[in-house]
């Protein structure tokens, strides 16, 4: 035991690398802590997977990974967008660039797709209605 108590065990952390054989599996003993750093004002832990030798952190593969803006502003952007405000208006109100808003929305859509793919499996239903609806997709974003 070290001076600062027992070494932390990261049994709840799984390797996020899809090429790793232990991808998504926790409690395999392959993940160790590899220091911490401050990201967007919060302490973030870095990990190392012994199996593939790849490093990752608390934010790897999550929506906010590599985004510089604070989470509150991004969350607010997504909420306002869902209420129907245009991209240009959101950018104006929150004082961010419209390209950033578009990028966050695209990233949120990708993340929703991943969640959907993971959760919507083996659905047992008795009846499905399948129809096609004619939609207008505006070419300009505003």
């Amino acid at each position: 035991m070290g001076e600062r108590g027992p070494k932390p065990q990261f049994i709840n952390v799984a390797c996020p690398n899809r090429d790793c054989k232990l991808y998504g599996l926790d409690d395999q003993g392959n993940v160790i802590g590899n220091g911490t750093y401050i990201s967007r004002g919060e302490k973030t832990r870095r990990y190392l997977c012994h199996h593939r030798g790849k490093a990752f952190c608390d934010h790897t593969d999550i929506f906010y990974h590599d985004l510089h803006k604070d989470e509150h502003t991004i969350d607010l952007t997504l909420k306002i967008s869902m209420k129907g405000m245009s991209i240009e208006a959101i950018a104006d109100v929150l004082e961010v660039q419209s390209a950033s808003v578009k990028r966050w929305l695209a990233r949120a859509a990708e993340q929703c797709d991943k969640v959907n793919d993971n959760m919507m499996k083996n659905v047992e239903v008795s009846r499905i209605e399948m129809d096609e609806l004619w939609v207008i997709i505006q070419k300009n974003s505003s």
């Binding site: 919507m120 499996k121 083996n122 659905v123 047992e124 239903v125 008795s126 009846r127 499905i128 209605e129 399948m130 129809d131 096609e132 609806l133 004619w134 939609v135 207008i136 997709i137």
Partner: protein
């Protein structure tokens, strides 16, 4: 059906009326290959039990 309705994008939706769940959707033209892709996507969400598929009586489906 008027011609203009076939132009532009269509949103293909698979909907479970019992629990108001949208299983999947595809945006694309009203063509056979989109229908095939759509059925394939919906099939990925389902278990081995095949449900009853209902739709409107468009000739295109027959």
């Amino acid at each position: 059906m008027k011609d203009y309705e076939d132009d532009g994008p269509w949103m293909w939706v698979a909907f479970v009326p019992g629990c108001r769940l949208i299983l999947d959707f595809v945006i694309g033209p009203r063509k056979q290959y989109v229908a095939d892709k759509f059925v394939e996507l919906v099939n990925k969400h389902l278990s081995d039990k095949i449900p009853v598929f209902v739709t409107d009586g468009l000739n295109f489906y027959r």
